[in-house]
């Protein structure tokens, strides 16, 4: 499964714009600053290129938590920024009830375990706990899926993985393209030689 071409184009466009906007350069920035600036541009580009998914909204919300990123986000996203960071009406209720549900589940499971301890641990309870643990870990990794469940969680994860892969792919290709051009500039070879040195087509 691959990302669509429009996604790729939008991503590259926004990435290059973001890099220029944050004035990434070797002379004035340290490695750390450069890394965070490029990573920020790449993440924003990925989220804005993808469009309206739960994880894109969560990612942008997470990025805008830092004050210094907010101006950058506003510049890049323009009007979309206000719309995206406005808290979603539906998700307000869910976190509260989930906390209560979780607490009651914990109490129930503790009671169940106390009752069942003499009989040994039931495999279904164990299996369920394992899956729950991993679900929580996944929720920590993918932005914006806190309140989702089961199918929707897997759906968002699938989308997120596809977008991440596309992001990595495109950044690698961009990198090798730039390096090839630099190589060509340094050695002053002709265009066909430059193309020949371009590996892996």
């Amino acid at each position: 499964m691959q990302a669509t071409k429009s996604f790729e184009q939008a991503f590259l466009k926004h990435l290059l714009r973001g890099c220029r906007l944050s004035a990434v350069s070797y002379k004035s920035m340290s490695l750390q600053e450069r890394k965070s600036a490029i990573k920020l541009s790449a993440d924003v580009a990925m989220a804005s290129a993808r469009g309206g998914r739960k994880w894109t909204r969560g990612l942008i919300t997470k990025l805008s938590k830092e004050d210094e990123h907010r101006s950058f986000l506003q510049l890049i996203l323009g009007t979309e920024y206000g719309r995206l960071t406005k808290p979603c009406h539906g998700s307000w209720k869910i976190p509260r009830s989930k906390k209560i549900v979780r607490r009651s589940l914990r109490v129930c499971s503790r009671r169940k375990n106390n009752l069942r301890a003499p009989h040994g641990v039931k495999s279904s309870v164990l299996a369920r706990t394992l899956v729950e643990k991993r679900t929580h870990a996944l929720k920590r990794l993918v932005p914006g899926v806190e309140s989702l469940d089961g199918y929707s969680l897997l759906d968002e994860t699938l989308d997120y993985v596809i977008s991440l892969r596309a992001q990595v792919d495109l950044m690698q290709k961009l990198l090798t393209t730039f390096e090839a051009s630099k190589l060509g500039a340094l050695s002053k070879c002709t265009l066909p030689e430059r193309k020949a040195s371009f590996v892996g087509k």
Binding site: M1, A3, T4, S6, E8, Q9, A10, L12, K13, H14, R17, C19, R20, S25, Y26, S30, L31, Q32, R34, S36, I38, K39, A49, G51, G52, R57, L77, T79, L84, L130, V131, R134, L138, L141, V142, Y151, S152, D155, T157, L158, V161, I162, R165, Q167, Q172, L174, L175, T176, T177, F178, E179, A180, S181, L183, L186, S187, S197, F198, V199, K201
Partner: protein, 435 residues
């Protein structure tokens, strides 16, 4: 803007490109240089078409299984004209279910209505008209329910086909929802006057979805073991419970299993049948990809993106020197242990390659070319890395062993080797020995 991009396209074609991306990248850099870069973020038509030429050439090599689906198509057909597309829209409203399942729900809903009409003795023409009206209004509701879906930037000017070509029925759901999300956002772009609709219909859309679900379940329950309108996939088998709860449960489990299968295709080394270990693989893969992004952003990407491509020798040397000095300064302030390791390695690779390798091996890391890391991490063959420094052999990769290979992460650093002025990327891979 337009003529310049077309001129670029012609120049590129004149070069007789087989490796389109290289020349196109040069063109892209040149155009960026000319101060073309900044466009309004929502310049859909102009920006998209203007950039299409060189970006297309740049990306012409990118493998895309949906290349045929991304082909430009005539204008997006509104739902009232195309009931088939409308059905798929209806499906997309349920967040990416497969087309067949949606046809199943839709037909069940219609079948239920028809049965009600037959029971109440309604005349067939009006009943049919009502059914069509219901389906159309249902589609419209789902369409408007999709409109409030927030942004898309840079969606293709031409909408993608809502009809995924046969074959991969597995990806129908996602493909449908992805393209339909784009086409729906396209719709929102073209029809801003339909904005008031979502206000009143969005509330109606979820109840419509709920109403669609329960009559389907009850229709199944009432159909029993025999005749009735033609069913698609799910059918109550003999001896199995026909109450709506277990059927809904079964449907839910099947949908989850379908998503798991789709994820299995993506995540490498995911032949696990167990749900917990499958989730484990997914988690590791997501962590790996996030780390790759972080590492790639530390490479020479930024400087090259912002600066003109034609740099003198001295300038590039100065850049790499400044980058290294920054690395030394930045290492003190970083709290991430991995980052510290990376800085250390970058520093050590300056002086002595051997000591750098020993340091890495002491940490359980090894050095490998980017291409190998990409090949291990993903099944795609179209990797582009010339990461091999001539004369330096990568050590045998211990992370190639089966149990730990999903945990491979790629570290890209820069190195200048001895008298060699070529800039290559060298990848160090880290084996996650403990899970």
């Amino acid at each position: 803007m337009q003529p310049s991009s077309r001129g670029m396209g012609m120049a590129s074609s004149l070069n007789g490109i087989s490796h389109a991306s290289a020349a196109a990248a040069h063109a892209a850099l040149r155009e960026l240089q000319n101060g073309h870069g900044l466009q309004a973020p929502f310049d859909h038509a102009g920006g998209g078409v203007g950039h299409d030429d060189f970006l297309n050439q740049m990306l012409s090599s990118l493998p895309s299984a949906w290349a045929e689906l991304g082909n430009p198509r005539p204008a997006w057909v509104p739902p009232s004209d195309d009931p088939a597309a409308g059905q798929r829209l209806f499906g997309a409203g349920r967040a990416g279910e497969s087309a067949e399942e949606m046809q199943y729900d839709e037909s069940l809903l219609l079948a239920n209505r028809l049965r009600q009409h037959q029971i109440s003795g309604g005349r067939s023409p009006t009943g049919e008209a009502m059914m069509l009206q219901l389906s159309c209004s249902g589609q419209q509701q789902m369409l408007s329910g999709l409109l409030p879906l927030p942004l898309t930037l840079g969606s293709a000017p031409s909408a993608d086909s809502p009809n995924p070509t046969g074959g991969d029925g597995l990806y129908n759901g996602f493909g449908g929802s992805l393209q339909l999300a784009e086409s729906v956002n396209q719709q929102s772009f073209h029809h801003p006057q339909s904005a008031p609709m979502p206000g009143q219909n969005f509330g109606a859309a979820p109840p419509a979805a709920e109403a669609g679900q329960t009559p389907a379940a009850s229709a199944l329950a009432s159909a029993g073991g025999g005749s009735g309108p033609p069913r698609q996939r799910v059918r109550a088998r003999r001896g199995q419970a026909t109450d709506p709860h277990s059927i809904a449960e079964r449907l839910r489990r099947e949908r989850i299993a379908e998503r798991m299968k789709a994820l299995q295709e993506l995540v490498p080394n995911a032949n696990k049948t167990d749900k917990a270990s499958m989730l484990d693989e997914i988690i590791d893969y997501v962590k790996f990809l996030q780390l790759q992004v972080k590492v790639l952003s530390m490479s020479r990407l930024g400087g090259a993106a912002a600066v003109a491509p034609r740099v003198a020798d001295t300038a590039s040397e100065g850049q790499s020197g400044a980058g290294r000095d920054g690395a030394n300064g930045g290492a003190a302030g970083s709290s991430d242990s991995l980052t510290v390791t990376e800085h250390q390695v970058a520093k050590m690779m300056e002086e002595d390659m051997g000591s750098a390798m020993q340091y890495l091996q002491g940490k359980g890391l090894c050095l490998m070319p980017i291409s190998l890391a990409s090949a291990i991490s993903s099944a795609t063959a179209g990797h582009l890395g010339h990461g091999l420094v001539p004369g330096v052999l990568p050590p045998p990769n211990p992370s190639g062993d089966a149990p730990s290979s999903p945990g491979v992460s790629a570290l890209t650093g820069q190195s200048t080797m001895a008298a060699d002025a070529t800039m290559d990327g060298i990848a160090a891979s880290k084996c996650l020995s403990s899970k």
